[in-house]
Symmetry: C2
Subunit: 438 residues, 2 copies
């Protein structure tokens, strides 16, 4: 009964929405409006086909759900409460997006309450404030985790996700590590696909931008005491985004590498995307900015291993002792986040076979030595927000080291970036990593 | 004008409140109601005298406010909006308190908005849910920190705080490390004193319980992107509490010491009371519970140094190589929280002169060796929530080690506990660490 009336409301609001879209609202781009039939099709069927053929550099660990998590939620129970026409926000210009400043009209929520049997029915609602008890665990003990994903408007007009199963897998591993309930990632991707479909006109019609997807899981028990959460909220908000950070005019970033700060350590949670990995970095990033540097290069250990850069994984292309070109990145040893862009670059690099691809530790003294010998070719960060971000300078122990990443004739970072964005924006057709929402 | 009407409302609600208190509500204890005059006096003047004579083992670092924080808030601007009589909660029985489950009727809030000049006027309101944007930084990047303090109902009926200046100092140091705005700790203590005074009947009338005070500071900017917070909320909630955790029948706790987990590391934030230090511990604590152990003993380094226990500092009393009794605790080297109970115990121990008091690293192999030689006397945790918590067993590398803490004739932990609670509950008169709210 409730489902029927929700459907009716949805249908009526849907009609209203379309009217509003067509008459009043600016789009994120200058492309023409989708036809009525196209819209109808999108709304009626927005489920994602399971990915069977994706290639991994390192397959993600299998998720094991604790028995006491209870039954999983299902996308078929998804309820939808659309924003009233008056609540809809005008869309910003595509060249004024920045990162994470503008949000779409709707959000997705799934509550978990152990004493109500666990996961509740997922619900799409207008974007609205969260209301929580001032003792909610997320506010005191950082019982929180998130993912960063994107939806891309392809050259064919279709909207694609990039390897969403990888994000869901990492999110569940992080949930376990945080004492938060795990969930069925595929069901949640289906719910998010519906959300994106509803807010589809917020997906920028340009390759210079995309729709950032922020799935978040927080512990909301209103009790002090450092303990697991019996109540949680899994939610997703969306924002159209441009570039993550401003590079210099060359398009490259400069880094502060200060061995007195450490991002993660053995026995910690550096390989999980927990909120707690981020707060301690903010002040260090501020210090980098004060010195006119754009990002922090995180070192580890007495030998000053390079681990991550800002919120990205790091790659180095160099000529090795044997005279071969070799792309190296730190291994998944618990100190670094298992990046999805990182995994994709490793897989692409191995597939291409044009240079050696190695996961191993490398240190600042090695970087300096390679620079001196003229054998360091490229250094770049990788991540969902930035894709591939070339590095041109490192400030380390009061010295500046210039990295010739931008001086290469046919830089590998550019080829990787072009390939990844090619897959994401549908220029490379039917790639198994690209998941179309339709 | 606004101040006048607030005052009037306050006066009227205050009269109502007193009526309600006297007629309907159960107190947290069986002590008789305070007289009308006493109540009036308490309400009229609840400011705290500055502490000039407190003794430190290690004086806290001086707080430097960044210029761009703007002007500080002041307790004289404190606004009060009292709960309506119908909103007042019945008080739980003193023996059913637990930890952090029950909250008092009011809370204290101070907002910070950089674009409105920084700190706004502090305000006491009924305890109410917080409303925040789903992108608020606290929910994603753990931009949050807290303190734990207590108000004690003394044997003379007076309410005391314990070294609140130390908490405020630590909170400000943590704020700086978190990219959150600093504030004037003394002004905030005055605001909290007013809050406690308003909710004074929630301070249990028994030495077995106290009123736990939870000052919290969170970043609430509604923007994604890992960065400093331009908007923040400093707030305090109160809960009457009994014992923090259940010890076994002997009153002692057992510990899991697993070297594969690390709480903090050099270059991290282990010495700051940030929310991010807590989430990663929850799953490890769960593992300890599954093994029938009550707390986690956090080890560090290849030599398995003892750093903290649960959320407490750790102390060991032993007979040293010279045959003297010696109390040791790890030094403030960045790996451990600078506990206020820890500092007080060091100061008391040095004052007493009955045993040597040393801040130095000590390791599990040393603990085992001392046990074998019969020279380990006591091991205990210390903190605001638990005061002093004796340890009787450590599970380490698949072996159980029994610690004779409870077998000593006149244990030092008990004398320390008695002295601290003696100061807190006013049995030791006019101690400079005890700050009376009146």
């Amino acid at each position: 009964m409730a489902t029927v009336s929700t459907k009716q409301v949805f249908r009526i609001q849907h009609r209203l929405l379309r009217k509003v879209f067509q008459q009043h609202l600016r789009l994120c781009s200058n492309q023409s409006l989708r036809t009525k039939q196209q819209l109808q099709d999108d709304y009626d069927n927005c489920y994602v086909e399971p990915q069977e053929t994706a290639q991994f550099a390192t397959p993600p660990e299998k998720i094991v759900h604790d028995q006491d998590v209870g039954p999983q939620f299902s996308a078929k129970d998804l309820g939808v409460r659309l924003a009233a026409p008056g609540q809809l926000q005008p869309k910003p210009d595509a060249d004024d997006l920045g990162f994470g400043k503008h949000f779409t009209d709707h959000m997705l929520k799934v509550f978990y309450h152990k004493n109500l049997g666990g996961w509740q029915k997922p619900e799409i609602t207008p974007l609205e404030n969260l209301v929580m008890h001032p003792a909610a665990k997320v506010l005191h003990y950082a019982v929180e985790l998130f993912e960063g994903m994107k939806a891309y408007r392809g050259v064919d007009g279709k909207i694609r996700l990039f390897r969403p199963d990888m994000n869901m897998s990492r999110m569940n591993l992080t949930a376990r590590r945080s004492g938060l309930p795990t969930f069925d990632g595929r069901e949640y991707v289906n719910c998010m696909a519906r959300l994106i479909s509803i807010d589809q006109e917020w997906v920028p019609h340009t390759e210079a931008a995309s729709l950032y997807i922020r799935p978040t899981l927080i512990g909301i028990d209103p009790t002090l005491g450092v303990a697991s959460s019996d109540s949680a909220l899994l939610y997703t908000i969306l924002c159209p985004v441009g570039t993550y950070f401003k590079a210099d005019t060359s398009g490259a970033v400069s880094l502060l590498a200060d061995p007195k700060y450490t991002r993660a350590w053995p026995g910690g949670v550096g390989n999980r995307k927990m909120g707690s990995n981020y707060a301690p970095t903010i002040n260090v990033q501020k210090e980098a900015s004060k010195k006119g540097l754009q990002q922090v290069l995180w070192l580890y250990g007495d030998d000053h291993q390079l681990t991550e850069v800002g919120t990205m994984n790091i790659f180095m292309l160099h000529v090795n002792e044997q005279g071969e070109k070799e792309l190296v990145t730190p291994p998944l040893d618990g100190l670094i986040l298992p990046g999805i862009t990182r995994d994709s670059i490793l897989a692409l690099g191995r597939q291409w076979g044009q240079f050696k691809v190695t996961e191993r530790k490398f240190t600042m003294p090695e970087v300096i030595q390679l620079l001196e010998k003229g054998r360091l070719l490229e250094l770049f960060g990788t991540g969902t927000a930035c894709v591939v971000s070339p590095i041109n300078r490192i400030h380390y122990l009061d010295q500046d080291y210039y990295i010739p990443t931008m001086d290469q004739e046919k830089p590998v970072f550019q080829k990787l970036c072009d390939t990844l964005t090619g897959i994401q924006y549908g220029k490379i057709k039917d790639h198994p990593w690209a998941v179309t929402i339709d």
